[in-house]
Amino acid sequence: MSRFLFFVSFLFLLFFSYWVGDGVLYPLGAGVFLALFYLVLVGLVFFFHVVPSVGRRVLEAAVLVGLFAAFYIYPPLSLTAIPAALFVLLYPVHLGGGTASLKT
């Protein structure tokens, strides 16, 4: 499942990057990019293991997209993109560490 998650989200990420091409990413595009990136990272961290609560991870990605979409309604809300980016970067690492400690 983790490999499937990795490859599917990675493929989508590649396709999305190609589609945007020469253009400029707006928040929803950035949200989709980061959500896919998050799933890629999760898939990568757990490439040789089982992704804990896969449904919840996908839900987190969807919430990310929803959050970025909300920027259009209230643009200053986009400041929350910074903690969201940290979440995308660090939470997969945290999940990986947590799982590793459980195993040990």
Binding site: G23, Y26, A30, L34, I82
Partner: protein
């Protein structure tokens, strides 16, 4: 001869319908009403054709004029009174008027010089009618003094090389003078206000003076009266602005509806001319008077920087279908009629209109395919016609196919000037009409876009003007001149106009468009020019675009995070930070310049936190000493919002027009002329008001 003809529809007048009559362009026509010579007004009769308006994707009945069918408004008494001798300078024309079996003969006095009565010039007014003739009176010139000109013989296809202006050429540019509508009621006596963007309307101490300029040849004046006006008089006062003296006045009875006339005055060629328009009369209820003037000049091109190029195009749908119609037309436009169209003494212009090759497919039940007649119209006025032979002599699978080869047409000064007398600034339309003989299934397919290119005189100076600081004919007067325009009419009602203004100190690229739907709008643009530029700044409708505070804050915070990313040297970290950075960076609009191999690409991208912007201006600094005085505008492309994902930049649209840069110099020029030839001369701040023309 003395037959009692019925009273006309118009009280006191008989409307006489003439078919296949001689061209009356520029003529004044009079008839004797028993007491005096009275002007005969002319209303051209349209033919309505089912027309597919390509930019709108809709069918509509549109009027077309061949200018040989018109209604003459003749005083009733003229049918029963023989005139005295024709006034000197006018020719005698004889018109036979028939109503059923009854006939009468009316003698007309016709010429280019109008009759004057006391202070009034009795003008023949012309109008483009909006309905077929209802009058029972039919007229026929029984001794036409000249053979009726066929509109389609005056100019056929033109060579593609004849459209370019070269140095040393004498041209006859046509521009507009701009006035505001004036509302009147009761007895009125007023000057028509000048439409000036800066509110400066006084010269020589006189209010509502419109600057006209040097080397003025003649005028075409259009007047539209909405409402009823009695005893109306329109007076044009011509002034020499160098000496602040009145040259002459031209008073004429005010027409009753939308009409135009040609006015020949001989103003001094080497002086600046100004014009004031005075209207007087009685309006029983509220009425509005609109005055539109097209002025014709004579200029000698000393330097190609005095000439600019305008280009317009229409995206064409792959095919248009029709059923059971006699005749159909495709209309391209309306395009902006920029001031200064370079005409010739003969009334042709330095322009070309490329009508791409296309094919027509008609369902046909007969044994043999008939030839297909194609008629071309410019601004609704007949231009030329072609007979297209079928691809095969007999129908194939029930269809006749016609391959219509490409053709090149040319704008005519006359239609352009008439358009400018019908509305503020005028417009240009191109139509192709097809005799499809009620075929039950017609398909017309294009695989290329229609294009118009024309040259315009852009500077207001005298031909002999020499800039004292440079010794060259073209001066720098501190204002930016419009040196390139490109209009795109797309499907889905897209209307997009991009303009390039250049002075020695600044270059302005502007875009105006009508795609403002939040889910589908223009979100970016890219101009590729060979003018070396740097330092872009962005304006929306004249307002400088500022980055919002929260976006600045976000970028600052990310700079810190980015610094951490540098420490971590993690590319994953950098990708994520960059994506978020992009959100703050693209919150507000941005303009950038990239260059490669001498091509400068200027790009505007709308901010995602901004609403769609109808008018965008990018101001740029030119290089202090450009390598060449000649530059090119290579292409333009726009960005469409793939809302709310991203802004996707479309494929380039070839513009490929020349821009000649002004010569060096610092001479400033008069403030007065900024509202004349609007859209071509403009002060630096007003360059942002790109809707004004």
């Amino acid at each position: 001869m003395l037959l009692a003809l019925s009273v006309a529809v118009v009280a006191g007048y008989v409307e006489v319908y003439v078919e296949d009559g001689p061209d009356l362009d520029g003529l004044h026509i009079y008839t004797w009403d028993g007491r005096e010579w009275t002007p005969v007004h002319v209303t051209y009769v349209p033919e309505y054709i089912n027309t597919y308006i390509t930019a709108a994707g809709q069918w509509a009945q549109m009027p077309y004029y061949d200018m040989s069918r018109y209604i003459l408004q003749i005083p009733r008494e003229a049918l029963t009174h023989s005139p005295p001798d024709t006034p000197p300078g006018l020719e005698k024309w004889t018109l036979e008027v028939q109503n059923g079996t009854r006939k009468a003969v009316v003698e007309l006095a016709v010429g280019k010089t109008p009759i004057t009565k006391e202070n009034l010039t009795l003008t023949t007014w012309y109008a483009l009618g909006d309905q077929p003739p209802k009058t029972p009176h039919r007229g026929k010139f029984i001794n036409p003094p000249r053979s009726p000109p066929k509109n389609n013989e005056a100019a056929g296809e033109v060579g593609t090389t004849s459209h370019a202006v070269s140095p040393g050429t004498t041209i006859y540019p046509i521009g507009s003078l701009y006035f505001q509508p004036v509302k009147v009621s009761g007895w009125f006596n007023t000057y028509v206000p000048v439409d000036t963007p800066v509110g400066d309307n006084m010269m020589c101490g006189l209010l509502e003076m419109h600057w006209v300029g040097f080397e003025v040849q003649n005028f075409t004046v259009g007047v539209k009266v909405s409402g009823t006006i009695n005893y109306g008089t329109l007076t044009l006062e011509f002034y020499n602005l160098d000496t602040c003296t009145l040259i002459t006045t031209y008073s004429t009875p005010l027409p009753s509806s939308g009409r135009w006339t040609n006015i020949d005055v001989q103003p001094p060629q080497n002086s600046q001319i100004g014009i004031r328009i005075h209207a007087s009369g009685y309006a029983p209820s509220d009425a509005t008077i609109d005055v539109y003037i097209a002025a014709r000049y004579m200029k000698t091109v000393n330097n190609l920087a005095q000439v600019a190029t305008t280009k317009a195009t229409t995206d064409f749908p792959s095919s248009v279908s029709s059923r059971n119609r006699d005749r159909i037309a495709l209309l391209f436009g309306p395009y902006v009629a920029y001031d200064g169209l370079a005409a010739t003494a003969a009334g042709t212009t330095y322009s070309y209109i490329y009508v791409p090759p296309h094919s027509a497919r008609l369902r046909w039940t007969g044994q043999h395919c008939p030839p297909l007649m194609v008629y071309y119209y410019i601004n609704g006025i007949a231009y030329t016609q072609r007979s297209i032979a079928p691809a095969t002599p007999s129908p194939a699978n029930g269809y006749c196919r016609y391959d219509v080869s490409s053709t090149v047409l040319q704008l005519w000064a006359r239609g352009y000037a008439i358009s400018k007398t019908q509305s503020k600034g005028g417009e240009i339309t191109i139509s192709a009409a097809y005799d499809v003989r009620r075929s039950p299934d017609v398909t017309i397919s294009f695989n290329d876009n229609l294009e118009i290119v024309y040259h315009r005189w852009i500077e207001p100076f005298h031909s002999n003007y020499i800039d004292s600081s440079t010794g060259k004919p073209l001066g720098e007067w501190g204002y930016e001149l419009l040196r390139g325009t490109y209009q795109v009419l797309g499907l889905t009602n897209l209307n997009m106009t991009s303009e390039i203004r250049i002075s020695n100190s600044q270059i302005a690229l502007s875009l105006a468009h009508n795609q403002l739907d939040p889910t589908r709008h223009i979100c970016g643009a890219e101009w590729a020019v060979t003018v070396p530029v740097f330092g872009p700044s962005l304006y929306y409708g004249g307002r400088w675009v500022e980055e919002p505070l929260w976006a600045r804050l976000g970028r600052g915070l990310l700079d810190v995070v980015g610094w951490l990313a540098t420490l971590s040297r993690s590319s994953v970290f950098s990708i994520v930070v960059n994506v978020v950075y992009n959100i703050f960076e693209t919150a507000s609009g941005s303009a950038s310049v990239d260059s490669s191999n001498g091509l400068y690409i200027v790009r505007w991208i709308k901010g995602w936190a901004e609403p769609p912007q109808p008018t965008v201006v990018v101001l740029l600094n030119p290089a202090s000493s450009p390598p060449s005085r000649h530059a090119e505008w290579r292409y333009f492309r726009e960005g469409h919002s793939a809302f709310p994902w991203a802004c996707i930049i479309a494929s380039p649209r070839d513009v490929n027009t020349n821009i000649y840069l002004p010569t060096d110099g610092t001479r400033q020029w008069s403030f007065a002329k900024i509202w004349t030839w609007r859209g071509q001369t403009s002060i630096v701040t007003d360059v942002l008001t790109i809707h004004a023309r």
